[in-house]
Amino acid sequence: MRIACPYCGERSLDEFIYSGDATVRRPDASAPTASEDYVKYVYERTNPPGMHRELWYHAAGCHAWLVVSRDISTHAISSVELAKDVALANNQAMKESA
């Protein structure tokens, strides 16, 4: 599998570290249900076949964090975004909905 880093171009898998599900959000630690929320946040994954959004870290390259959309059945990658851009867009969306 090869991942197209937005900075470095297409690089081999051995330059990257997989860092889990990119869709989970850290729960509010002050909520009354925080304990259960954190168990779900850390451990509970349904892991369906098909498209996943994953965090990858370009450890042996430019050290950028990436959000990779990948079909885990075929390894076909449909998009690679900078995690920074994804986070900024999420924050903006949360601000607008608040």
Binding site: C8, G9, E15, A60, G61, C62, H63
Partner: protein
């Protein structure tokens, strides 16, 4: 006491290689510093470097050279400045005085070491341990990359000269890297000579 301290080459076990088709030589005479732009300071850093050295810092993997200095892209909003040490030039001090308010500057002169690989066979030798495409179509003059060479993390760049490369790595990997490079060079040379 100070005169008892003598600089020691990190490549103490590397015999420089010089043949018509391949040369390998450590560059012991460099002063280097890495710098990373602070939040929202990229444009200010680029403008400062432009006015001081007359070069545009690259935003993508590449090298730019000015008068007596070169800048290599070292990650998003980060660069490595490389210059000849010459008359006590100190790249960290120089850049800190220019960029102190807008970037983090860290000396790399001793933390990293640089080896130059040149000659018509250099591309072929390096390609045996570097997983990126080194074909001139993909990696040409002033190209740069952060990757690994024989599993050792490197920042590498090509000079304007089509077959001259320089690779910077952490100092403690110098011996291990040199071992790989010389073994690979020796394996390549007779077969193609």
């Amino acid at each position: 006491m100070a005169n008892m301290l003598k600089p020691t080459s990190a490549f103490s076990h590397l015999d420089p290689l010089s043949t018509p088709s391949l040369s390998v030589a450590p560059r012991e005479d460099l002063t280097m510093a890495s710098f990373a732009a602070g939040k929202d300071q990229v444009q200010a850093v680029m403008a400062t470097i432009k006015s001081a050295y007359g070069v545009d810092l690259p935003r993508r993997p590449a090298r730019v050279s000015g008068k007596g200095i070169a800048f290599v892209w070292a990650g998003p909003d980060q660069w490595l400045a490389v210059a000849e040490r010459g008359a006590n030039r100190d790249m960290e001090r120089e850049l800190k005085s220019l960029l102190s308010a807008m970037a983090s500057v860290v000396d790399q002169s001793d933390g990293r070491v640089v080896v130059r690989v040149s000659g018509p066979l250099s591309r072929q030798v390096l390609a045996k341990g570097i997983p990126i495409d080194l074909h001139p179509r993909a990696f040409g003059a002033n190209a740069a990359a952060i990757t690994h060479a024989s599993h050792i993390g490197v920042i590498m760049w090509q000079l304007e000269d089509a077959s001259t490369f320089e690779l910077a790595m952490f100092r403690s990997y110098a011996d291990s890297f040199a071992h790989w490079l010389i073994e690979t060079a020796e394996a390549t040379l007779p077969a193609t000579a």
